[in-house]
């Protein structure tokens, strides 16, 4: 089998040295806490910016992205409720149909000799 080119052998050898070290770093508790802290800081900054811009938009009586998101969440919750209700109705209907079918079949069986 042909040997890989020199540049590839160099890369593989560097990768073999670096990858396990990096992989062990990302699996430490310190990394998890650091990443969580970064995520939390990002979320906090996003919330602060959104709150500040909301104040500006509300001053001129306009809705903000947060307002729209809130509305979308409410519509989403409502959509889920309707879907669940429809599902339960379907189930009850199927159950009812099955019982009616059983009764009819039972009746027919009773009449047969």
């Amino acid at each position: 089998m042909a040997q890989p080119p020199l540049w590839r052998r160099l890369y593989d050898s560097a990768e073999r040295t670096v990858a396990p070290r990096l992989e062990s770093v990302v699996r430490t508790e310190h990394f998890a806490r650091g990443a969580a802290l970064a995520g939390w800081a990002q979320a906090t900054a996003r919330t602060q910016v959104a709150a500040l811009s909301a104040r500006v938009w509300h001053l001129v009586n306009l809705p903000t992205g947060t307002d729209v998101a809130r509305l979308r969440a409410q519509v989403g919750a409502l959509d889920r409720e309707v879907r669940r209700l429809a599902f339960h109705l379907e189930q009850q209907q199927a159950h009812h149909d099955a019982r009616t079918h059983d009764k009819e079949t039972g009746g027919a069986d009773a009449q047969s000799p």
């Binding site: 890989p4 080119p5 590839r8 890369y11 990768e15 670096v18 990858a19 990096l22 992989e23 990302v26 699996r27 508790e29 990394f31 998890a32 806490r33 650091g34 990443a35 969580a36 802290l37 995520g39 939390w40 990002q42 979320a43 992205g65 729209v68 998101a69 979308r72 969440a73 519509v75 989403g76 919750a77 959509d79 889920r80 879907r83 669940r84 599902f87 379907e90 199927a94």
Partner: protein, 359 residues
């Protein structure tokens, strides 16, 4: 010192020139975004509820019953199971004579942000099963869950012991979430709240999940480009690369409420292992999964490492239970040579043994 043969030098130069021409052509193709078709096996939508669809793959040569229902994961696209003609898990199942159905969760939006695990376990899944039974006239299905789809299948079977299941097969399904690596650790050990990563729709954006997966192998992103450069001349490799990267870079949002449940119940409480599972308001137990069971795990899986999936066999209560450990990666279970040679034939064999020849 090796002697230089003018013929071999010429041959190498010729090959390099040819490969560079092919590299240029394939590079232009990649840059212009031409993509190979995926998910090509003919299918029909048999049922729809919300974003969820039940797909029925066409098969004129069904030789086994009951039908096989595949449950896919919540965070990625299901076409990985039907990647390309000749490299398709679904295609192989059809050729083996199964009547194949797949529950695809679609792309969640703001209407799905409040979805909890019970929506999938108690509604969509039983809804899909009921539709399969109604359309086929059968009274049972074989259930097959891939990755987190396996978790949903297990929760369903545990919560509904009388569900009409002939057997359950799960592949690369994690139960011990302490071993799930950085993505779980950030929420578990790090204490990050799901609310901190939700998007405007109230879902966990796909970028968060993608970033989590990339962190598992920090050098893989660079290696992927190095591999591509080395084999950019190879049309077959480039087509496979395009199909795979299009899939692995293209996750779907994870419904916010379900994500919160997963983090609390499965990551922080490690519910599968500690037997602290709740669906809706009910406690459920894996010991209640009693139907014939097969778990398939891959020993080179970096997404669901072996220690995360291994305890499952001991946790389910089925008297007829089997475990298959393969020398493959997470995706290698369903795509590529190992899948074609080992995984798929073993799964087919397991399910054929739990099926009847169709009349």
């Amino acid at each position: 010192m090796p002697t230089l043969n003018p013929h071999s030098v010429l041959e190498r130069v010729r090959r390099d020139v040819e490969r560079n021409a092919l590299r240029t052509r394939n590079g232009i193709r990649l840059a212009t975004g031409a993509r190979p078709s995926v998910g090509c096996t003919p299918k029909d939508v048999a049922w729809r509820s919300g974003r969820t669809e039940l797909w029925h793959y066409r098969n004129d040569d069904v030789r086994f019953t009951p039908p096989l229902l595949i449950v896919f994961s919540l965070i990625s696209r299901s076409y990985i199971l039907d990647l390309s003609p000749g490299n398709s898990f679904v295609e192989r199942l059809l050729k083996a004579g199964f009547d194949v159905w797949l529950l695809d969760w679609g792309v969640p939006d703001e209407r799905d942000a409040q979805n909890r695990l019970e929506d999938y376990v108690d509604e969509y899944l039983p809804g899909g099963i009921a539709r399969v039974l109604e359309l086929t006239g059968r009274d049972q299905v074989n259930l097959l869950g891939y990755c987190f789809g396996g978790n949903l299948a297990l929760l369903h079977a545990a919560h509904h012991p009388h569900s009409p299941l002939r057997s359950i097969t799960v592949m690369a399904t994690p139960v011990d979430f302490r071993h799930m690596g950085p993505l779980a650790d950030v929420f578990g050990v790090g204490g990050l709240e799901v609310a901190d990563v939700l998007d405007a729709n109230g879902n966990v954006p796909p970028q968060v999940v993608l970033q989590g997966f990339r962190t598992l192998k920090p050098t893989s992103e660079v290696t992927r480009y190095v591999d591509l450069w080395q084999r950019l001349w190879d049309d077959e490799y480039v087509a496979a690369y395009q199909a795979m990267t299009a899939w692995s870079d293209n996750h779907v949002p994870f419904p916010g409420a379900a994500a919160q449940e997963v983090i609390q119940m499965l990551v922080r409480d490690n519910g599968f292992v500690t037997d602290r599972l709740t669906v809706g308001d009910d406690r459920v137990h894996l010991a209640d999964v009693r139907c014939p069971f097969l778990t398939v795990l891959a020993n080179r899986d970096h997404i669901v490492p072996e220690p995360a999936a291994a305890p499952l066999i001991e946790l389910v209560g089925a008297p007829d239970k089997h475990e298959l450990r393969l020398n493959a990666g997470h995706i290698g279970l369903v795509v590529g040579k190992t899948a074609a040679r080992t995984t798929i034939p073993t799964i087919i064999d397991f399910m054929q043994q739990r099926s009847e020849v169709s009349t």
